[in-house]
Assembly symmetry: C2
């Protein structure tokens, strides 16, 4: 797998950039539409004045997500992959050189919506955050293990919809994660109501502190 | 791309099997958790007595989906791909030989939940049906065009949740599909309430008639 070896070389280079400028890089992954951009919008509203945030967006097509982030006053670079189902370190390298890393505290990389391949490509980032929305079903960690094994934190998103859903159990989702021998924290959040955001923001700040 | 050429050869072989036994093969694709298995459960309840249905399930891990289908009294073969993010013709070939094609009218192939790669692999099937759940956002046809361009029909699923969602507009989802120059029919359905199932079942029966 020469491809992965070349990717890993590039990822190390990316990480050197991040570490030289002391920027914590967080890779957000999920199914399409699980709420990655919405999470970022609400996160920026909550701590955008306290921390300097930058975003790299990955999609096959459109600038939609980068525009949503820029509308929050935060720099965002859109990568359009054309047909690749995941970001790789080379794409991220091109994007990071368009950002002023010197003045960033946290860089979020919103990966292409896909519960399989993104987990296998090191982008040079420091943490993986995997989102699972309550509308997808609590069996996903068992059915898409590659992604959930790689998570440093799992966010159960759209928690505001739980009252209208009859078969998503957070305890099941968490048990399915633990069955993968992954001790990562699990947090129920809503980007709409800000439910659970204290836990999510505390986790972020703690990771930032331990990174420095 | 020798891989795709080899896949296409195998797909032709698979289609010969289907055509020899007059079995309409429908490839169901979507994001993880959009409701593919739920759609099949309700479809089997509605027309399982009229048509002989078989199912091939594709997932990275677990027999969960095949077990749900077997519980409806219909034969189901589970393919576990391990790490592949899509089914390919070779995998489907192994599965089809485990089914009694002679006594089937319709074979559903539920692909791995992924809005990118599955659209590029011919499995020997006759029709592509792409599901988009109302909880994912109406922008997906624009952001994941490879998948939606390939659709012979697009189902907007979980329509029963529309009253509690404030930003999914079916008209936007349909417009985003049309912008890909795809004239495929768009049907709003709910596997829970059976809303829209008449349209879906009429489409299926019409495809079956035109196939014979
Ligand atoms: N009820 C509810 N809906 C949400 C929440 N977060 C996101 N959504 C909705 O979910 C849909 C998708 O949200 P996005 O933020 O675009 O999801 P995404 O993961 O960024 O999607 P992609 O980038 O296309 O993979 C939209 O219709 C949002 O309004 C939430 O906390 N609660
Ligand atoms: N409200 C509502 N929920 C639905 C509907 N269809 C499916 N769901 C829910 O959506 C979740 C996922 O459904 P599945 O049928 O497992 O989805 P899937 O596409 O087969 O998932 P994968 O095979 O894992 O990709 C479950 O929690 C279902 O209960 C529907 O019509 N209405
Ligand atoms: Mg997004
Ligand atoms: Mg399924
Ligand atoms: Zn560089
Ligand atoms: Zn054969």
């Amino acid at each position: 797998q020469d491809l992965l070896r070349e990717n890993d070389r590039q990822a190390w280079h990316n990480r050197e950039h991040f570490d030289r400028h002391q920027v914590l890089a967080v890779n957000l992954m999920s199914s399409p539409g699980s709420g990655k951009t919405a999470l970022l919008e609400t996160t920026i509203e909550a701590i955008g004045h306290e921390f300097n945030i930058g975003v790299i967006e990955g999609d096959l097509e459109t600038e939609n997500d980068a525009q949503r982030i820029r509308a929050k006053g935060v720099p965002a670079i859109q990568i359009t992959t054309g047909s690749a189902c995941h970001l790789d370190a080379h794409m991220v390298h091109g994007a990071l050189h368009q950002l002023d890393l010197e003045n960033l505290d946290i860089l979020f990389i919103e990966n292409v919506g896909n519960l399989v391949c993104p987990a296998s490509f090191d982008l040079g980032h420091h943490r993986n955050v995997t989102l699972l929305s309550v509308t997808e079903g609590d069996d996903k960690p068992a059915k898409y293990p590659v992604m959930f094994r790689a998570a440093d934190a799992m966010l159960i998103t759209k928690a505001d919809l739980l009252p209208v859903l009859d078969d998503f159990k957070c305890a099941n989702a968490e048990r399915n994660l633990r069955n993968l021998a992954n001790p990562a924290p699990v947090m129920e959040v809503s980007a709409k109501t800000r439910q659970g955001f204290n836990d999510w923001l505390t986790w972020l700040q703690r990771e930032l502190q331990s990174y420095h």
